[in-house]
């Protein structure tokens, strides 16, 4: 018999702060975002997100968790600027998001590395690809070297991506996204395509990188274990149309032991929350 109860109202224990004073420091402010996709072939409308509001503090590690099709990737893409919300707005560092940019680094599920450039070339790309970034980094090589070492790939600078393992490719992707010193990192199930052992190693590596750089991270996943292992806060989303169902704050110190009692409780709670949502999607 569980000592807690899932509240029927959408948001759980730790509400979105309603007081504006408290949120001026927030790195990311998602305000009433709704996203509707209209199919061009048959005009059908799909409501992916419905009135989603969220705040992310600077240096926080937030996980978006939910069943497939719940809109978590869509929300991430809206944060990144790849999609525009149908209603509502998103502010990052006080500026409205209108398109992609190097202030929000993005790591895809597939590494999306440029196969025709070496590791060095890939990481350097973000530093030389537009005049503003060029001005910010008059000596890009130093930054490139630092980022490559940060992700633990020293010695592989001149290897080409197709000759790297999956885990190594994702490390390069992370280095590449970090090179232009973004305000935050957006990660869309980056370890989903890796095998279990590599995934475990990569999670540890990511936490190390995060401890050293203290970037704000928004991480999409459908793995409860991953969310509990990594995040400061876990945002549980409902099935389509996606809304925020529950936000869980995890205050256990890292590195976390998943067999810890409170973490197991959290996992069970999240499992039940997701379970009901998954039944929705199956229906």
């Amino acid at each position: 018999m569980m000592p807690w109860k899932v509240s029927p109202s959408p948001v759980g224990e730790y509400d979105v702060p309603k007081d504006d004073e408290q949120v001026t420091e927030a790195r990311v402010k998602v305000d009433g975002v709704t996203k509707v996709f209209t199919s061009t072939t048959n005009g059908r409308r799909v409501e992916a997100l419905q009135e989603v509001s969220l705040h992310v503090e600077t240096g926080e590690f937030v996980c978006l968790l939910g069943p497939s099709g719940c809109g978590k990737s869509t929300l991430l893409n809206i944060l990144a600027g790849f999609e525009r919300p149908t209603k509502g707005e998103v502010l990052v560092s006080g500026h409205r998001v209108s398109g992609p940019g190097p202030d929000r680094g993005y790591v895809f599920q597939e590494p999306a590395l440029f196969d025709w450039m070496s590791v060095w070339g890939n990481v350097k790309f973000g530093l030389v690809c537009n005049p503003d970034t060029r001005k910010r980094f008059p000596d890009p090589d130093k930054q490139v070297q630092q980022c490559i070492e940060l992700v633990g790939l020293k010695g592989f600078e001149h290897t080409f991506p197709n000759f790297l393992s999956g885990g190594m490719k994702q490390r390069v992707a992370i280095a590449r996204a970090l090179a232009p010193d973004p305000d935050m990192l957006l990660m869309d199930e980056p370890f989903g395509a890796l095998d279990a052992q590599t995934r475990y190693l990569m999670q540890g590596a990511l936490l190390e990188i995060w401890e050293r750089t203290r970037k704000t991270i928004v991480f999409v996943t459908h793995s409860i274990e991953e969310a509990v292992f990594l995040a400061d806060r876990v945002v549980v989303m409902t099935a389509r149309p996606g809304k925020i169902k529950w936000i869980d704050r995890i205050q256990v110190c890292r590195p976390r032991d998943l067999s810890d009692m409170s973490l197991m409780e959290t996992r069970a709670r999240l499992f039940e929350l997701i379970g009901t949502e998954m039944k929705e999607t199956e229906a």
């Binding site: 990144a80 600027g81 790849f82 398109g99 992609p100 940019g101 190097p102 929000r104 680094g105 993005y106 895809f108 597939e110 999306a112 590395l113 440029f114 196969d115 025709w116 450039m117 790309f125 973000g126 030389v128 690809c129 537009n130 005049p131 503003d132 970034t133 080409f160 991506p161 197709n162 000759f163 590449r176 996204a177 232009p180």
Partner: protein
């Protein structure tokens, strides 16, 4: 588009260059004994009169004629090196022009849907017309001679190059573009450092096919519309019933095509797509 052409090219380079791992003597013999046997039978049959000269002269005669045409200038047939250089020169010019026009146009059409919608139907109309079918029109407009030949090569080669470039740019995986955009790349940077390298595989296929087309066209064009070049030499040899020169010419043409394919395109392929590990193995 690339589906069709690149398969043939894969077959071609694989079969022509053979499996590089098995070039030991025994393997070479097992592979080529039939060719050697045919050559021997051919030579003997010609020597002993079983093969009339008009049908197929002996390999030795062929070699001899080739040598003499290289050394001396025959009044009717001309000089072999002369013809060779002319053909090569024209082909390079024609092919170079084709690349210079088709590649930028292809990039433009590949990047912009509007332009593509406008121009693609025109391309699709002209594409099925074989290069050599333009010959009568070309002769009417440009007369006989080098200009016509170069024009025909140009017309023959642009379509595959166009298709290859457009197809390559259209079929880039979308996350390349997103990755570049999220890193803030300017349009120019994205085009030159991301889009074009990502489509290089298909572009190279298009170039190869275009080159093949130009090679085929030049021989025919020179037969019909020119008074110099390898094709012309072949047609004169046909008129004067010089089977040996014909066969020599055929071998040279074949060898030339193969060598350029191997030394130019294979190298290019290996230095770019191969080095990056982007080629799919078959």
């Amino acid at each position: 588009m690339s589906s069709d052409g690149s398969l043939l090219i894969a077959a071609e380079s694989d079969l022509l260059t053979g499996n590089r791992h098995t070039t030991t003597g025994k393997h070479l013999f097992r592979r080529y004994w039939l060719v050697i046997a045919i050559l021997i039978v051919w030579e003997l049959a010609a020597r002993y009169g079983y093969l009339p000269r008009a049908v197929l002269p002996a390999p030795s005669t062929v070699a001899q004629s080739a040598a003499s045409l290289t050394a001396h200038r025959d009044p009717a047939l001309g000089s072999l090196p002369d013809h060779l250089l002319r053909s090569l020169g024209r082909q390079l010019l024609g092919f170079g022009l084709a690349v210079a026009v088709a590649f930028p146009l292809g990039v433009w059409m590949g990047m912009s849907q509007k332009v593509r919608e406008c121009l693609l139907p025109l391309v699709q109309i002209f594409y099925p017309v074989p290069g050599l079918a333009w010959t009568p029109l070309a002769i009417l407009w440009l007369g006989l001679g080098g200009k016509t030949v170069i024009f025909l090569i140009f017309i023959g080669a642009i379509w595959p190059i166009l298709y290859g470039t457009i197809g390559g740019l259209q079929n880039i995986r979308p996350h390349y573009g997103r990755a570049a955009a999220s890193l803030g790349a300017t349009h120019f940077y994205q085009l030159t450092r991301v889009s074009i390298p990502a489509s290089l595989s298909m572009i190279l296929t298009g170039l190869r096919l275009g080159y093949g087309a130009s090679w085929r066209t030049i021989v025919g064009a020179e037969m019909i519309a020119s008074t110099s070049g390898l094709g012309y030499m072949l047609s004169v040899a046909a008129d004067t019933r010089r089977g040996d020169v014909i066969v020599a010419g055929m071998i040279i043409i074949g060898a030339l095509g193969f060598l350029i394919e191997y030394f130019a395109f294979d190298r290019l392929d290996r230095a770019t797509v191969g080095r990056w590990g982007m080629r799919e193995t078959h």
